[in-house]
């Protein structure tokens, strides 16, 4: 056990830090859930890509930098520490990227990955359906094989920022009569194809953060399939759950708001200390965020040693989603009477940041598998308790 960074790791950290100090927009970009904000974030992604910081862990040939997971943790610490913009293309880059790296053909990788790293292609996920939410395998959207193409019909929902995206990826039932996890194929669909209709869904904050996607005889070539026909579930699930979970929510993602919360507390100490519960919560937020970071470094070390990480990623999901709620709720408590103000309110200072974060935190225990499902997974796969 050695808990110091190597000189190379420190050098990488400094390089990232300096680049970010010079390049992070001074003014916070407008939310990427609007058209304008989406475009500005896409430009930022391109800038990151040009500097080689878009997908630091991908191989160089695909637009990455060939870093390992520790480097990536370092990158994230600097990225969040600098208050750099949110990653608008992360659903493609993080969720689909790993899958492509593991299962894509050389042609697919060569075509899709660099365009994804540079955000020339923007990606939306198309997992959920109206009746396949927590019950992920209950997919009914069909992809019918017809020569060299699939003809897709059906509906997907909760597709993040799909109204602005270029592509979507998801599972479709390609084997007629198949049930549950069987007979699904993993397909990539250009959203400008004929027959695709996208209808926005307003999120809690009123922004069109999600969309429904309707497929009406949408034709995609079979070369857009990842993995074998009917094996889509396997493809979707095989990429280590741990890595995917971690990529989506690096520890720095919570350490930075915890740090910001501490500052908010220090700035309002006299008022906040009237209720000692605030001090307790602030301290717990920091301590939990740090514990999550320690857990990530520990797990990354074990992954580097060749260990397989399984259902414990479900524990991570529960932990960070509850932590995120606590951080934001505590901030709202400290903000008090003005906490309800929108960012456009003249009195709003820190408020817009916290209200957005608070609203977004509400989704944490729901998406990527509700925390109820995660607790089932822990109980059944880690503890060996019976399914029924």
């Amino acid at each position: 056990m050695k808990l110091q960074f190597s000189p190379e790791q420190n050098a990488f950290r400094l390089e990232v830090r300096q680049w970010l100090a010079a390049n992070v927009p001074k003014q916070k970009l407008p939310t990427y859930d609007t058209k304008e904000g989406f475009e500005l974030h896409r430009q930022w992604e391109h800038k990151l890509f040009e500097a080689g910081f878009s997908m630091v862990m991908w191989p160089k040939e695909y637009g990455g930098r060939g870093c390992d997971l520790i480097d990536w943790l370092i990158f994230e610490e600097e990225y969040y520490g600098a208050g750099a913009p949110g990653r608008v293309n992360q659903n493609g880059q993080l969720l689909l990227g790993s899958t492509l790296l593991d299962f894509g053909t050389p042609e697919q990788k060569a075509h899709f990955l660099p365009r994804m790293a540079s955000s020339e292609d923007m990606w939306a996920q198309a997992w959920s359906e109206p009746n396949a939410g927590s019950d992920m395998a209950n997919i009914s959207s069909k992809a019918t094989l017809d020569g060299e193409h699939y003809i897709i019909n059906g509906q997907k929902t909760w597709s993040t920022r799909a109204i602005y995206a270029d592509w979507a990826f998801g599972l479709f039932r390609s084997q007629p009569g198949s049930e549950r996890h069987h007979g699904l194929s993993f397909l990539l669909v250009p959203l400008n194809t004929e027959g695709v209709t996208i209808r926005p869904i307003k999120a809690l904050d009123g922004e069109e953060a999600f969309a429904e996607i309707f497929f009406d005889d949408v034709k995609v070539p079979i070369t857009n399939r990842i993995g074998d026909d009917g094996k889509g579930w396997h493809v979707a699930m095989a990429t280590a759950g741990f890595e995917r979970g971690l990529l989506l929510r690096s520890p720095a993602r919570f350490q930075q708001p915890a740090r910001r919360l501490i500052q908010l507390y220090r700035d309002n100490k006299a008022a906040a200390d009237r209720d000692p519960a605030i001090a307790v919560a602030v301290s717990k937020c920091w301590s939990d965020a740090e514990a999550y970071a320690l857990s990530a470094y520990n797990t990354v070390g074990r992954v580097n040693n060749g260990e397989k990480i399984g259902a414990e990623s479900s524990l991570n999901k529960i932990f960070w989603s509850e932590l995120d709620l606590l951080i934001c709720q505590t901030a709202m408590d400290i903000l008090g009477a003005t906490g309800e103000l929108l960012g456009s309110a003249p009195l709003a200072k820190e408020h817009a940041y916290w209200l957005d974060a608070f609203l977004f935190a509400q989704a944490g225990p729901i998406y990527a598998g509700t925390n109820e499902i995660q607790r089932n997974i822990v109980a059944e796969r880690v503890l060996g308790l019976p399914k029924k």
Binding site: S128, K202, R274, D275, A345
Partner: protein
């Protein structure tokens, strides 16, 4: 010792509930929230039913109802997410007017206006830099230390500050305290402000509790419709237990709210404590109902499309209105921890 409501009080509540269920449906609210309609029509309709007259003395044609009865009313206003002007004018501002010395000119006049459905009053208290509905009010009661100043619309400048609760109209206010606007000061002013703050705080407690019940009802309903893994999600123990916990928070908050109302109505020396205690319980119920509501609704709970979101946001907004949660928790803690009062079991009510 009789800790119950009269049949009349319960019946009145039931009537109001039925009326609001029809007139203040989620669809109506949604129109207000989306800016398609303003709240005026709905509020007029409610005022026409006599709700604005509840606190007005009989001399001015009102019903002279007290805080105890209002603790049922505020729950209904919360349950139906009725925008602020009604409760602020007909309950809190009316209470302030009632407490003013009869020598204040306009007192009787204004009470009569309220009785007739006028909801154009706003109150600015030092607990917040924001004043609800100040930009549309014709009469504003503003705090300057122990002084109460009564101002007209032209005496103030307002700057709107939009809230996550789109039905709210909050403003910062610029105004000047001059002797002629002062309608109470010194001990009298202090006492009225204290009582007004408490009344505001308990009006929020009642609304939060009503909102909690609404969020619970919506969540139960949704959990009976939505199926996953071939079953209603409401049949899963994890969902059942979360909803049961919300029900628990609501049930325990009720008597705390009612006692606080009774204390306020009867000028109990511990009114401050009782009201903050009620706020804490109602606030916890609403916070849990919101969290569980969103969770039970799954991804739908995160959207603008389900009705739940309006009640959730209103609960979040009200949570720090008329005193923030830190302040109300601190009031109870100071009492329990830093006094040397003997808190024996016999002290719940004034006992011998």
């Amino acid at each position: 010792m009789n800790f119950t409501f009269t049949e009349d009080e319960l019946l009145f509540r039931e009537t109001i509930n039925r009326f609001l269920a029809t007139e203040a449906s989620p669809e109506t609210l949604r129109d207000i929230w989306s800016g398609d309609k303003d709240a005026g029509a709905l509020l007029s309709l409610i005022a026409e039913q006599g709700l604005s007259a509840l606190s007005v003395p009989e001399e001015q044609g009102g019903l002279a109802m007290g805080d105890v009865a209002w603790s049922l009313m505020t729950q209904e206003l919360g349950y139906h997410a009725i925008p602020d002007p009604l409760v602020n004018s007909a309950y809190v501002a009316t209470g302030l007017l009632n407490a003013l010395d009869d020598s204040v000119s306009q007192k009787a006049d204004l009470l009569e206006h309220i009785c007739e459905g006028d909801l154009g009053f706003a109150i600015g208290h030092e607990c917040s830099p924001l004043v609800a509905d100040a930009n549309t009010a014709h009469t504003l009661f503003m705090q300057q230390d122990d002084e109460i100043h009564m101002l007209g619309a032209t005496d103030v400048q307002t700057v709107p500050n939009p809230s996550i609760d789109f039905s709210r109209r909050l403003s910062q206010i610029t105004w000047s305290a001059v002797p002629k606007t002062c309608i109470a000061s010194g001990e009298a002013g202090k006492k009225i402000w204290s009582e007004t703050f408490n009344r505001g705080a308990i009006s929020v407690a009642g609304q939060l509790l009503g909102l909690a019940q609404r969020m619970l009802d919506l969540s139960v309903e949704y959990s009976l419709q939505r199926k996953q893994f071939g079953r209603e999600i409401g049949s899963f123990q994890a969902v059942k237990h979360q909803l049961a916990d919300v029900a628990g928070k609501i049930e325990i908050a009720k008597p705390v709210l009612y006692r606080a109302a009774c204390s306020l109505e009867n000028h109990h020396p511990l009114s401050d404590i009782h009201i903050s205690q009620a706020r804490n319980f109602c606030s916890e119920a609403a916070a849990l109902a919101a969290r569980v509501g969103i969770q039970v609704h799954g991804a739908m709970g995160y959207t603008w499309e389900v009705d739940l979101q309006m009640y959730v946001k209103r609960a979040w907004a009200l949570n720090n209105t008329w005193g923030d949660s830190i302040m109300h928790r601190a009031r109870v803690q100071d009492y329990v921890l830093n006094s040397d009062i003997d808190l024996a079991p016999s002290k719940t009510f004034e006992a011998v």
